[in-house]
């Protein structure tokens, strides 16, 4: 028996390509399904991952385990004295919390008011905050340049300022410049790194603020009618996220006692945790949502391709018969069907990955992001590509292509060519 040399791979590929081109609509539809499925799942999952990271960063920005406490008015029925109707904190309240609130890791007081700041020929109304060194840590704010406010600045009541990026642009002052705040010269010792959109905030954006030592702030802008050391806002960082409520009760009890209001008086002491607010938004589930959408898209794409190709093979049973009748070995025909679907899959997969990953990369590219408005930049996540997702998308599509292309052909081949030819 003479051995026949097998059809060259090149021949089979050429044949597969010719057959794909001979049926342009079907090929285009199948390709579209492949490309769409692959690209969509890759892009969506990358987007979801990016979004999750962005949210985590936003959490960190909002200050980890941070709690604000504002003093307000005592409720009428709880107020023991008429003169304590309007409440405020003083330095000793902060000191008491530091001593007694064991569930709080960091405690800091903060004052806030609006004054005119000026530098050179420019001036602007600015939110000037008196802060302690702890405020930087509690609020999770980094420095872009220079240094933060130190204990010594506080002790010596230095006239130094750390300036937010937006405020800095408004004044045009740099680190090392002397600016005037409400007429008083302050030395700019540092610039805050951009914070951008805050998920929870108390007043203007941090980027628009100017921070000076709390003690300096209290002396320069003290209200002689109240006290020398009034504090507008107390910031706490709690030790444990899971004990956020207990930590707040503890702090509330201490402050209620000091301010002589009932611990149940939620009007007197307003406590507010950005994280608790954020927790009502199901952030973690968003990532899952995108995976779900991506997975569904992949499945729909896969099913579409499966249907198209299965249909095509049914329609091509006769073709299988003819090819066998004119001397094609079952293996030749199988290889040809395999190559046809593999070629289709390779084309669609390559284009799909390029499109999905390309889209994700473009959206995350520095070139594009630098052209976005800063506010928009905070809303659009940097998509995070994952090789796993790419592999999964390609794997599913490859499986679909092979199953749809080869299995029916293989089944058609197990019966006599005569039956395949008779089938109508």
């Amino acid at each position: 028996m003479t051995r026949r040399r097998p059809i060259a791979l090149r021949e089979s590929l050429r044949e597969a390509w010719r057959l794909l081109r001979a049926q342009p609509l079907r090929t285009a539809l199948t390709l579209f399904g492949l490309i769409w499925g692959t690209a969509a799942v890759i892009f969506l999952v990358s987007w979801g991952r990016g979004l999750q990271s962005m949210m985590e960063v936003a959490f960190a920005r909002a200050g980890k385990n941070m709690v604000f406490v504002f003093a307000d008015k005592a409720k009428e029925d709880f107020s023991p004295a008429a003169d304590r109707r309007y409440l405020w904190f003083i330095a000793e309240d902060v000191a008491a919390l530091r001593r007694r609130a064991h569930l709080a890791e960091l405690v800091a007081g903060e004052t806030s008011l609006f004054r005119i700041g000026s530098f050179g020929g420019r001036s602007a109304s600015l939110n000037i905050r008196g802060v302690e060194p702890e405020n930087f840590a509690i609020r999770g704010v980094q420095l872009a340049e220079g240094r933060a406010i130190s204990r010594a600045d506080a002790t010596l009541r230095r006239r130094v300022a750390v300036i937010g990026g937006t405020a800095q642009r408004k004044l045009g002052a740099r680190v090392g410049d002397w600016i005037r705040l409400d007429g008083t010269p302050f030395l700019v010792i540092g610039r805050l790194a951009r914070v951008g959109t805050q998920l929870a905030r108390d007043g203007p954006l941090i980027d628009e603020q100017i921070w000076v030592p709390l003690s300096t702030h209290q002396v320069r802008w003290h209200n002689p009618l109240v006290a020398d050391d009034v504090i507008d806002l107390i910031l706490l960082r709690m030790r444990d996220k899971r004990l956020l409520e207990a930590s707040q009760s503890e702090a509330r009890a201490i402050l209620a006692e000091r301010l002589r209001v009932s611990p149940d008086d939620d009007e007197a002491l307003r406590m507010f945790s950005p994280e608790e607010v954020l927790r009502t938004i199901p952030l973690d589930q968003q990532g899952v949502l995108y995976v779900l959408i991506g997975g569904t898209t992949l499945a729909i794409g896969g099913i579409g391709i499966l249907a198209l190709m299965l249909d095509a093979v049914r329609e091509r049973r006769r073709e299988i018969g003819v090819r066998l009748a004119v001397g094609g070995r079952p293996r030749d025909v199988l290889v040809q069907f395999f190559l046809e679907s593999t070629l289709l899959f390779a084309l669609g997969g390559a284009l799909g990955v390029s499109l999905g990953a390309g889209g994700a990369l473009v959206l995350g590219s520095a070139a594009l992001r630098n052209n976005l408005a800063p506010e928009l930049r905070d809303l659009v996540p940097i998509p995070e590509l994952s090789l796993g997702v790419i592999a999964l998308a390609l794997g599913v599509m490859a499986l679909v292509a092979v199953v749809a292309g080869v299995v029916p052909a293989w089944r058609a081949m197990k019966i006599d060519p005569a039956l395949t030819l008779r089938a109508d």
Partner: protein, 238 residues
């Protein structure tokens, strides 16, 4: 090869006690019931019989498109039922040219590509395939239609292309299953002339037909009824 001998030389086709069953759904169809048949090289045989008599099944067996359920089939002395799938494919490609009633051209390929298909599976080079396919199309008078798709040409031209595909490998055995069944008389005659021409140049030709005129032109006529051979007549007249 002998041009018109009826039984001289070894038999090209030798069927002994061949039965064929089909399982179609619940019913078991007994399509062939004990066929004994010898066809010598160079013969031209017409197979006639009513619908459902087993003509097509017989042709499929002869063309190695299916195997007998029982009995033996020897082609050129080689036991076909013992061959592997690959060897059967080789026999179909090299030894047999099949012409179907329904033409069975691949709709997505041009006529030339259709005709070249058997050569592809023989591993012929591209240039050789193209040349031989064109030559085969010339023989059936279709060279000008080489690049057309099957749906762009008439039924007669399609069947001529199918014949070109059957003769492109110069097979010793040509099987035609009602090749004129879908054509008008004029086109049918052209097809028939082609088959007779192939026989004249050495090929053994077996034609299944309803057409008494064709049957009359053949030198040997086999009548089948209910899966068995009823008459096997050698005829003198053409």
């Amino acid at each position: 090869m002998t041009a018109n001998g009826t039984t001289n030389g070894a038999a090209l086709i030798e069927l002994v006690g061949v039965h064929k069953h089909y399982a179609t759904g619940e019913a078991d169809v007994h399509a062939l019931r004990g066929i004994d048949l010898e066809i010598a090289a160079g013969e031209l045989v017409a197979v006639v019989g009513p619908s459902g008599s087993g003509k097509t099944t017989l042709m499929e067996l002869l063309g190695c498109l299916s195997r007998p359920s029982t009995g033996s089939y020897r082609l050129r002395g080689e036991a076909v039922d013992a061959l592997s799938g690959d060897e059967l494919a080789r026999v179909r490609g090299r030894e047999i040219g099949f012409v179907f009633q329904a033409f069975n051209l691949l709709p997505r390929l041009s006529l030339a590509e259709n005709v070249a298909l058997p050569l592809l599976y023989q591993g012929a080079a591209r240039r050789e395939r193209n040349q031989r396919a064109l030559r085969a199309l010339e023989r059936v008078g279709l060279a000008h239609r080489a690049t057309h798709r099957p749906n762009q040409v008439s039924g007669g031209e399609r069947q001529r292309a199918a014949i070109a595909r059957a003769l492109v490998t110069d097979p010793p055995l040509v099987l035609a299953d009602e090749p004129t069944g879908n054509l008008d008389t004029q086109r049918g005659r052209e097809i028939l002339d082609l088959l007779f021409e192939m026989n004249a140049s050495g090929a053994t030709v077996v034609i299944v037909t309803h057409d008494p005129e064709i049957a009359a032109r053949a030198r040997r006529r086999i009548e089948i009824r209910d899966g068995a051979i009823e008459h096997d007549l050698a005829q003198v007249a053409r």
